[in-house]
Structures are given as C-alpha cells and as structure tokens.
C-alpha cells in the first residue's frame, strides 16, 4: 500500500467492486422489472410469479446447455448458455402462453377485478412454477457457466495499465450489459415504431378505445407474454451466469424487482429501468466495505481500522424494501409518474 493519496487506484477499486457489479446487477433487475411492467400495463396485475418464472427460464437454459455441452456444441470464449437461450425461449413462451390460457384468460373474460384476482392467481402460478423447478433441479445452488470467465482478468489489467489496483471484467458482466442494452433498445423500438407495439401502447392507455378501433385483445396479450418470456429468460440466465442458480434466490429477487418497478413509477418502462439501477446501486454502495477505498484516498494517519461498511451484507434485500417505503412515503407515483390509484 502506498502512503500517499492515490485517486486513480481508488477509482479502479470502485470500478471493480462497485460500478461493474452494480451495472450488471442493475441490468438484470431492469430486464426483470420490464417484464413485470409489461404484464402490469397490458394485463393489469402485479405478477408475483416473476422471480420463479425467471428460475423456470434459467432451468430450461441449464438443461439445454447441459445437453449441448455433452454433444460438444460450444462456442469458444462464451458460455454455452448463450447458445441455449433461443431454444429455452421457445419453451418459456409455450409455458407462459399455457399459463395464460389455463389461468389468467378466464379472469379477463369474466372481467374480474384483475388486480386482486391477478395477484392471487399469480401467487398460485408462482407455487406451481417454483415447485416444478425445485423438483427438476433441486433446491441447492449450482453454477452453469462454462467458457472463459473473464474478458480481461485482474492480472492482465495490471500488466496492461501498470496500476496497483486491478479491474476484472467478467464475461457474465460483459454479456449482461450488452444484452440488456440490445433488449431495451429492441423494446423501445418495438413499442414506438411497429404497428403491434403501437397497438399494445394503445391497449395499455385506454383499453375500451383500443378495442373500438379494432385492436385484437388476444393478440396483444399473446405478444405481451412472448416479450415477457424473452425478458424473463434472458434476465434469469444472466443473473445465474453472474451469481449462480438457486431457486430460493430467484424467488427473493421478486422484492428488488417490485421495488424497482414502484420506485420508477409502476407501468412506466423507463421508470422500471431507472428504478432498477437505483436499487442496484443503493444495495451495493450501502453494503460495500469502504476500508480499502479510504486507505487509497486518505493520508496514513487517517486510515480507518474498521471495515467502514454502512449496512451488513445480510440486509441486502432490506435495502430495496427501505427504498420502496421511502418512495411510497414521499412520492407514491414513483420517479416517472406511474399509476397510483387503481384504475378499475
């Protein structure tokens, strides 16, 4: 350790332990939150099954990529899971459309209070899905990433820049950030420019009027579920590549995802993304131990002895809840005005 003030190394440290992890975690949350937002805007209920659906999609990817690895169908440098996503996507779409046909469609037809009934039904679906995933893959944690672990490792970075503090860029982080940008760009293009996307927005804004102008509600709902399948599978896979797959962990993701959606403004896609990054950065900034960071920045005499951690890591999930509560108290509409009062 040097005893002088070292800003560049401090920044490198923050990039490695805070910025990159938070960016990739935020992207994963954002994709999940967008799926919740889509279901909310079109089907008008908060989908409690989102976390377990992500586990289901990831399960499909794990099974398919396992088969591919056994056959030797891999790509150099990247995890086989990426190759497995398109096939898993088909499975996930079928599953979600089947659930819609068997469970949710009935309540749309009888015009039930969709919010309350939808939540209850989605809790039922959550259990069925979670049970299936645990039955097939077990409840314990596992890793399924293969291929190169790093785009560049700490050692390579140090050799390249000559800095004392290294930065590692994991393949999973690279994939997460790239895929998230592509998916979000696709979603906004789809919603703004295509005919189906416009129909979806119209349906979301004013269902009665949309129906009058000849939009086919069944088609809108089906497209929504296909988009949800896309976002859910990819979000789940990326999270699993980054942090490993454990069904309970996925189930608990529900909390930060809901927090993101509400913080951003429920029903607003941009809000969901902003909320996701807010939640991710707060979680990591508040649970990070700043000891080494301060050692780089402060003169020797002021070096801290404790870890300088604001909140223990075990309370990670509590942070998203606290953010949620603060937003509900100060600005219940969320950052980007969402829908606060029940429409129906």
């Amino acid at each position: 350790m040097s005893d002088s003030i070292d800003i560049i190394n401090a920044l490198a440290l923050m990039t490695n332990f805070v910025i990159l992890p938070a960016l990739s975690y935020g992207s994963q949350l954002a994709l999940g939150a967008l799926a919740v937002t889509l279901v909310y805007s079109i089907l008008r209920f908060s989908n409690f099954a989102q976390g377990d659906s992500m586990a289901f999609g990831t399960m499909l990817v794990i099974i398919i990529s396992g088969y591919m690895i056994s056959k030797g169908w891999t790509i150099t440098g990247f995890p086989t899971a990426i190759l497995a996503i398109p096939l898993a996507l088909i499975g996930m779409s079928i599953y979600l459309l089947a659930m819609d046909r068997l469970v949710y469609r009935h309540y749309r037809k009888i015009k039930a209070k969709q919010n309350i009934v939808g939540i209850t039904a989605s809790i039922g679906v959550m259990f069925v899905t979670g049970g299936i995933v645990r039955f097939i893959l077990g409840a314990s944690a596992q890793r399924f990433g293969d291929g190169e672990r790093f785009i560049f490792s700490v050692r390579e970075f140090k050799a390249f820049t000559g800095l004392q503090q290294g930065i590692a860029f994991k393949t999973s982080q690279f994939l997460t950030i790239t895929l998230a940008i592509l998916l979000v760009a696709f979603l906004f293009y789809f919603l703004q420019k295509t005919k189906t996307g416009k129909a979806m927005r119209a349906y979301s804004d004013n269902t009665e009027l949309a129906l009058l102008s000849g939009i086919d509600p069944d088609k809108v709902v089906q497209i929504t579920w296909l988009l949800v399948a896309l976002f859910t599978t990819i979000a789940g896979t990326l999270y699993g590549l980054d942090k490993g797959f454990a069904p309970q962990q996925y189930h608990l993701l529900l909390l930060p995802i809901f927090a993101s959606v509400i913080v951003g403004g429920i029903g607003s896609p941009i809000g969901a993304i902003a909320g996701a990054f807010l939640v991710a950065f707060s979680e990591i900034l508040l649970t990070y131990a700043y000891k080494k960071f301060l050692i780089y920045l402060l003169p020797l005499s002021m070096h801290p002895s404790s870890l300088v951690q604001l909140i223990g890591t075990e309370y990670k999930y509590a942070i998203s809840f606290v953010i949620l509560v603060i937003v509900l108290l100060i600005r219940p509409t969320g950052i980007f005005k969402g829908k606060v009062i029940d429409g129906e």
Partner: protein, 457 residues
C-alpha cells in the same frame, strides 16, 4: 334425491366437519393417536392464523402476503416473555444496547418531526446519517458484548421470565404494531402495494431475527421454552396417571403375568403421556379458537361488520356514504395481523423451541391462503374447515407421495438412479399440488366449500 340435496345444502358445514373428523379418527386408529392429535393441534393453530387472514381478506379484501413475518413476531414474543433473563449478558451489554436503541429511535423521530416542520432536506439527511452512524457504532459494540457471553448456551439477552400465557397477548400486540406501521404507509394507495409491502416486511423481520444473535439467538435457535401444560416425563411418574391407565387397560392386563404386566403398563403409560399432553394443548387451542370465532362472528354481524363488508363490496359507494375507508382498512389489517401474531405465539409455545429458519415465508404463508380460499373467504367456519383439510393434505401427502413412488418402484430395478432422484425430490411436488388446488378453487368454485352466508347485504 332432491331431499338429500337440500339436506346437504342446509347442513354443509356439519357434513364436511363430520367427514374430517372421521378421517382423523381413521388416522388415529390406523396410524397412531399421537399423529392424529399432532395434525389436529397444528390444524387448530393454522385455523387461528387462517381466521386472521380471513378477517383481512374475506372481510375487507386486503392482501397480506407476509403472514409468516407476523407469525414470527408472535414467536419472538414467546422467547422475550417466557425465557429467563440472562443476567450476565444484560450486565455486559444491556445498558449499551438500550442506549443504542434509544439513539436509533431518537434519530428516526427527529427525522420525521423535522421533515414535518419543513426544515431543509439536506440538513435532515445529514442529521439522520450522523445519528445512524453513532447508533451503529454503539449497537455493534453492544451486540458483540452480549453475543460473547457463553455463546454456546446463551449469547443473548434472554426474556423477562414471565408466565408464557402473557406472550400470546404480547405476540398479538407486537404483530399489531408492525401491521399498523405497514398499513399506515401502504393503505390508501394501490391495493397491490399492501401485498408487496407485506411480502417485504415479512422477509425483513425474518432477516433481522436470523441475523441478530443478541436478540433471540438467531440461527442458533432457542431451546427449552417453558410450557403451559405438564411434561410427559412428569405424567409418566405421577401415580394417579399410572392408576388411570392401569384401570383403562384392566381387562387386558389381568391376563398377563406380574412381570409382563409391569412392562406392558410402562409402554401404555409412555404412549398415553404423549397423547395426554397433546390433548391438553388441543383443549387450550380449541378454547382460544372458539373464543376468537365467537368474537369475530359477533363483530361481523354488528353494524361495524356491515360497514366493513359494504366497503369491501363497493368502496366508492361506501366512501360517498361518508365512511373513512383508509381508517377502516387500517383497523382491520391491524386486527387480522394481531390474530396471526397470537397464532404465531401459540405455534412456538406448542413446539417448545424457536427456530427462525422454520418460517418459510413462501411456503406457509401460501398454505394459509389456500386454507382461507378453499374454506370460503368471508366465512370463519370455512377458514377453520380449510385449515383442517389443507394441513391434513400437507402432512399426509409426503407419505402418500413416497408410497406412490414405491408402487412405481416395483416396476423399476432396485437402486435405479431415477428412482432415488424422485424419492429425493418428491416433496417439492407438494408445492405444485397446493398451487394447483388454489388455482382450481379460484377458477371453478371461487366462493369455496362453505360460502359466505350473508354475502347480500
């Protein structure tokens, strides 16, 4: 045939409860009485919890997805009230912990008060952050001191050493406090905010209980909680109990020789002691359940109950009539959660140990929900019936699943890997099964087995 049908419609509840009783009788005769009574006792506790949820969901349409959090608060109150205080730990860090908690409370209240006065937001933030840092410093020091006191046995502050019956009331009060706080924030906003917030609060309550060892020992669990009923060992040694069992089995024992008689009698006494203790619990739980049902039925049929249902069925109209909806919802949410808290306290009392990891928020919250919806939301007797049916299925579906797998295994080779795989995971299918039950009832019989009687106002 038509007569049969009208009879069934009129006495639905009686018929269902009789069937349930017969099934439990069958379990008692064929498996064991201890098992049957175990199911009954857990069903009774579940019924109390379901009653609380029914008050929230059935009376007022409020979704509580965090039942286990409130139940865990009830469990905590048992430890805090009934355990003996650990004087060494209190001496070591009690004062410091008290200071830390007071500082924390002062920080929060000053933050809220200053915010109300409209002081500069940055200034408030600065005050709150400083307060937090000081609190955290004192707090971690105090927690360390307490946890160092004989960590294998205590390492926590203990409780007040009061009679355990107090904890049932206190459990209700603590749960009500938490519910008031959650309700105050989320009620009056969108309906699903309450569901999401309760999910969050229950997770956090459990995280705190699991991680704060100084409080209720965290993952180390609390063993040997006092009991409101006699211990099995004491019963086995008490003379009148032995005599009673001897008299009960008189005819059978007379046929045996002296030494065989004694041996047989000890066996009988041991079994009977277990059953007797369970029966004591059953009596206690039934008394509490019945009084709660009577009270809530009275409430439901009073002007207050009509107002509550009017709000549930048509919020806009009720609001136009001048009813304060938010206030009413808050009242009901607190009331229902208090009952769940009482049930949580009873659960820990019955188990005799407090195990934070046993509160699976996902699984048991959901079971209670299925109970309420299967029984018929809005009908208290329905919740009780639902509790019995669902708990019975939950307990018996494990053995039944294994039995099914064994049937299959007759056709499979011994020790085949796929068979072991299924035996290992078969209990997860219970989740799928329960989820399917919920979805089927919602779809095909939304009013449940015993529909709400006075649905029409």
């Amino acid at each position: 045939m038509n007569n049969m049908n009208t009879f069934f419609q009129a006495n639905k509840a009686v018929v269902y409860f009789t069937i349930m009783a017969l099934v439990l009788l069958f379990v008692g005769l064929n498996q064991s009485w201890a098992l049957a009574l175990g199911i009954i006792n857990m069903s009774l506790i579940s019924a109390i919890m379901a009653l609380g949820v029914n008050i929230q969901w059935g009376y007022a349409g409020l979704m509580n997805v965090g039942i286990m959090g409130f139940a865990a608060l009830g469990g905590v109150s048992v430890v805090l009230i009934a355990q003996q205080p650990v004087t060494e730990a209190v001496d070591a860090g009690g004062i410091k912990m008290l200071i830390a908690l007071i500082m924390g409370a002062a920080t929060v209240t000053s933050g809220i008060l200053l915010n109300r006065k409209g002081v500069n937001k940055l200034l408030i933030a600065a005050i709150v952050v400083t307060g937090y840092l000081f609190t955290r410093y004192y707090f971690s020091e105090a927690a360390d001191l307490i946890e160092k006191v004989d960590p294998a046995i205590t390492g926590y502050l203990g409780g007040f050493g009061l009679p355990i019956a107090f904890s049932w009331i206190v459990g209700g009060v603590i749960a009500a406090g938490a519910a008031w706080w959650v309700g105050k924030i989320t009620l009056g906003l969108r309906t699903d905010y309450l569901a999401i917030a309760t999910l969050g609060i229950s997770e956090i309550i459990l995280y705190v209980i699991k991680n704060e060892d100084w409080f209720v020992r965290g993952l180390k669990n609390v063993y040997g909680l006092p009991r409101p009923v006699p211990y099995e060992v004491d019963m086995q040694q008490s003379e009148w109990f032995q005599n009673a069992i001897a008299w009960f089995h008189k005819s059978e024992l007379q046929l045996l020789s002296q030494s065989e008689q004694i041996e047989k009698l000890t066996d009988y006494v041991r079994e009977a002691a277990v059953v007797f203790v369970k029966l004591c619990y059953s009596g206690l739980f039934i008394a509490i359940l019945v009084s709660l049902i009577v009270l809530s039925n009275l409430a439901l049929n009073s002007p207050w109950g009509r107002k509550v249902r009017a709000i549930r069925d048509n919020e806009v109209a009720a609001s136009a009539m001048g009813k304060d909806i938010k206030r009413q919802h808050l009242q009901i949410f607190v009331l229902g959660s208090a009952i769940v808290g009482v049930a949580g306290a009873l659960l820990v009392t019955y188990d005799g140990i407090f195990i934070p990891t046993a509160y699976l928020p996902l699984r048991f919250t959901f079971l209670i929900w299925v109970m309420v919806i299967l029984g018929g939301s809005g009908n208290n007797m329905g919740s009780v019936l639902g509790a019995f049916i669902i708990w019975f299925i939950w307990i018996q579906s494990g053995p039944m699943g294994l039995w099914f797998v064994e049937m299959l295994s007759n056709n499979m080779t011994e020790g085949s890997s796929s068979l072991e795989f299924i035996e290992d995971r078969v209990h997860y299918l219970r989740l799928v099964f329960m989820g399917t039950i919920l979805l089927l009832i919602m779809r095909f019989s939304p009013s449940g087995l015993l529909p709400e009687k006075n649905k029409q106002l």
